[in-house]
Symmetry: C2
Subunit: 492 residues, 2 copies
């Protein structure tokens, strides 16, 4: 292991960047803004994928795969969507390289191999998918279409950060088609609920469900549901969105169906997605100055066993005990790794597992063997205790549940402490500068006020919460009437 | 369901294209050469992925993710590899669209947003991965690196066919780095073995393992192992390849390590991949004029239950029995679907499940209830039998195993009958035109002879088999000395 992490108090942003790299989660690549997701980071993403995929299937969705490229003429068909993504698109214009006549051994784009129509690398797939759906829907019998895709997408962002904002990222995008507006709205809500459940149950990350304001909606959506979470530095992070698309895409791509009365009607749509950005959210919800802290539900290794030995004989005796523990824990579906590498000393192993957030570490030494005990170290609290071998299995099971719950509770307490109800703009600015977090304030409902507050404070409306009491009041900025409080915050 | 399939005898190629579309596996998209993989096709691919991924992990590999794009300067670093793929590359040259001043509502590529260096959409990832490996390897302690990636790749093929040859396809690509040549060679062989095991055990598709000749090797490889299978029309299909890359990429990307003696040395490499092309191989190994035939190991639904009823009461009574069967079979890890759609008649359901290759269909009617029986139909043999409810579970379990084995045996018999040993070039041509299949013949080992035979007959050397007796002889074309027989065939 290399030098210590920058502390969060010192520089949160630097702490994050260092942690991602040092914990072997991801690194920057030779391609501007594109990351390499390293095996340890990818293993966490795979756990997220597996849980989400299960939840999608349990709610009736099927996976499919659509092309990476969108021909320009399809891309521009839904105007708002096109406008929203046009400025950050990677565009394929040619399909062949040739030897560069001026530079031996080098290649250049073959000018003869220009595409007739440019292809956009998908920033999102509504266009290509709705163009396909046209062939899949004739009658109400073909509806609903409940499709999900796991894919890579590209948005040519100017300022990128590992996991949080990268030019290429991995995500899933759900795309559904329905007979009625009501059904499509219910689907958009359902999937936002699925995201909230996933975030809270598996990521141990509390979220607030809400609706986006018009200016923050997905380009082409009529309503955007979202889950908003709060990071340790008091900035909010949009962790997932689910869009009600109305009939916009059906009209742009002429997707009609014969309804039960035999009349032709346009289909109603939703789309919804979460991405590798969740990795950033996970890190900034739980980790500390020692490194990553992982909820057991998403940890690639929930438990690691480190042998402490001087002689070969000691190691053999420890390995025998460790093998018994491994087999017991695996029988309980606990992922556990025996770290018997001979190329690293126990201290280096401890440091690595701490940095990488392994929830529980078991150390077994020669003296433990004599006593019939082992030492368990908890990553979240950094506490250690000695337990007897015969109580170990139950203890581990209980601790994993406890850690999962405790991480959630800690994050929830922090989040709840950082929702400040304010009624004046001075208070608004002061909370934003000192306490940080979400600000619950009245807003007059206009784009102008939203925009002005953003310009003055960098805070945006994160969402109009779905839950909680609705009370009328006056806008914290304009003093005009407000129907309800909304949540502001500075955000990632 | 629409009209009947073209028969295989009538037009094998047309049969294939129709089957892929009618069985809802895939379809062509609006993007030239790119396919849409439909949910039913994708479900089969997911089963393949799951089994392969498990086998990769069991052999010590970890998944990671590398960028979609390769900067041109990296792409051209390993010359042979670059040369092999330069002619079929999708190239990103711009990163922004703008409103077209000449066409309101339309977009055009923003000429100001030209990339300084063009990006190649990965046709394979050796370049970007080896450029990354440089940072991961310092000493022998960091080796071996055993990495796999599940990803999309793009090769701008001029003639495309669903699954078999598409501009974009899905695959996995393994990339490993080793201390010694011996270890890297062993890895390349091991992964070719993994592919062979997967093909035979899960796809029920017999394969021949062998080495490619120099002209058929992967661009940049020193040795290419492959698994070759035989399709029903007598053409061969390369189902997977595993490459020993020597130190070519390590040298091109300067990936050195300190060996155990403390000296700097270049790392030894392998790469290996299988793709959605396997879907084409699966289809052309087992399917018939009625549609898809799937081995139970890869069938999204191994069993489907269709209720046959006239009254609501009948349906309720059948559903009660069906629910018991569902729960029993699911308890045995058998995937089973109850097709109680009210929008389709039993006949239409039978036709659909036949076309989609569901291995076993259970029909339950009112009369069955009275008799305590159900009817089971086998997709592979198209035979039916009536069995009692109390023997059903065991029967289904036994039949699924029997079908898996029987499909493999049938394909193996067909393949073995279609390996012809020939000793004259007249015989060679005659077998190729009439009997088809693999031809085992002597070859003088030169590129020239290989090329001439290809020009004259369209047959290529599929592989130099790893197994079987090695006997010297004379080349079937040139009459020159030959060390051993190799396998020729026309191929996909």
């Amino acid at each position: 292991m290399s030098k210590k992490l920058t502390s969060r108090a010192e520089d949160y942003s630097k702490w994050y960047n260092e942690l991602v790299v040092k914990a072997d989660l991801a690194e920057n690549s030779a391609v501007r803004g594109c990351m390499v997701i390293k095996p340890y980071g990818y293993a966490i993403w795979e756990k997220m994928q597996a849980e989400l995929d299960k939840m999608f299937k349990e709610t009736g969705h099927e996976n499919a795969y659509f092309p990476l490229f969108v021909p320009k003429s399809l891309f521009e068909a839904e105007e708002k969507n096109a406008e929203g993504f046009a400025k950050e698109c990677a565009i394929v214009t040619h399909y062949r390289l040739q030897n560069d006549p001026d530079k031996p051994g080098k290649l250049r784009v073959d000018p003869e191999a220009k595409l007739e129509e440019e292809l956009i690398v998908r920033p999102t797939s509504e266009a290509i998918i709705w163009n396909t759906f046209r062939g899949w829907v004739q009658s109400y019998r073909d509806l609903p279409l409940l499709i999900n895709q796991w894919a890579n997408v590209v948005r040519w962002e100017m300022r990128t950060r590992l996991f949080l904002r990268t030019a290429e990222f991995l995500w899933q995008e759900g795309h559904t088609a329905h007979e009625t507006k009501k059904e499509a709205l219910a689907e958009a809500e359902l999937m936002n609920n699925v995201y909230a459940t996933f975030a809270e149950k598996f990521m141990a990350m509390p979220v607030i469900q809400g609706l986006k304001t018009e200016s923050e909606r997905f380009a082409g959506a009529e309503e955007t549901y979202c889950i908003e979470s709060l990071m340790q530095d008091g900035k909010a992070l949009q962790a997932g969105t689910s869009h009600f698309l109305g009939q916009n895409f059906a009209k742009a791509f002429d997707v009609k169906f014969a309804n039960k009365e035999g009349k032709q009607d346009y289909v109603w749509a939703t789309s919804w997605g979460v991405s590798t950005r969740l990795m950033g959210a996970l890190i900034m919800t739980h980790s500390d100055d020692h490194g990553l802290v992982l909820p057991p539900s998403l940890a690639p290794n929930q438990v690691v066993i480190v042998p402490i030995y001087k002689s070969e004989d000691d190691l053999n005796a420890i390995t025998e005990v460790a093998n018994g523990v491994l087999s017991d824990l695996r029988g309980k579906n606990i992922t556990v790794k025996y770290d018997n590498r001979t190329t690293r000393r126990p201290g280096a192993k401890f440091a690595q597992h701490e940095l990488q957030g392994v929830p529980l570490r078991i150390a077994i030494g020669a003296r433990d063997l004599a006593n019939g005990t082992v030492e368990i170290a908890r990553r979240d609290t950094l506490t250690k205790e000695v337990v007897t071998l015969d109580s170990l299995n139950e203890k581990i099971e209980a601790l994993l549940i406890e850690i999962q719950e405790s991480l959630f509770k800690k994050a929830l307490d922090f989040r709840n402490e950082h929702i400040s109800e304010v009624d004046t703009f001075d208070e608004f600015k002061s909370v934003l500068e000192t306490k940080t977090g979400f600000i619950s304030a009245h807003w007059d409902g206009t784009n102008e006020t939203e925009e002005k507050i953003k310009t003055l404070t960098k805070a945006t409306i994160r969402c109009i919460p779905l839950e909680g009491e609705v009370e009328a009041g006056v806008c914290v900025y304009s003093g005009k009437p407000s129907k309800r409080r909304v949540l502001f915050a500075k955000a990632y």
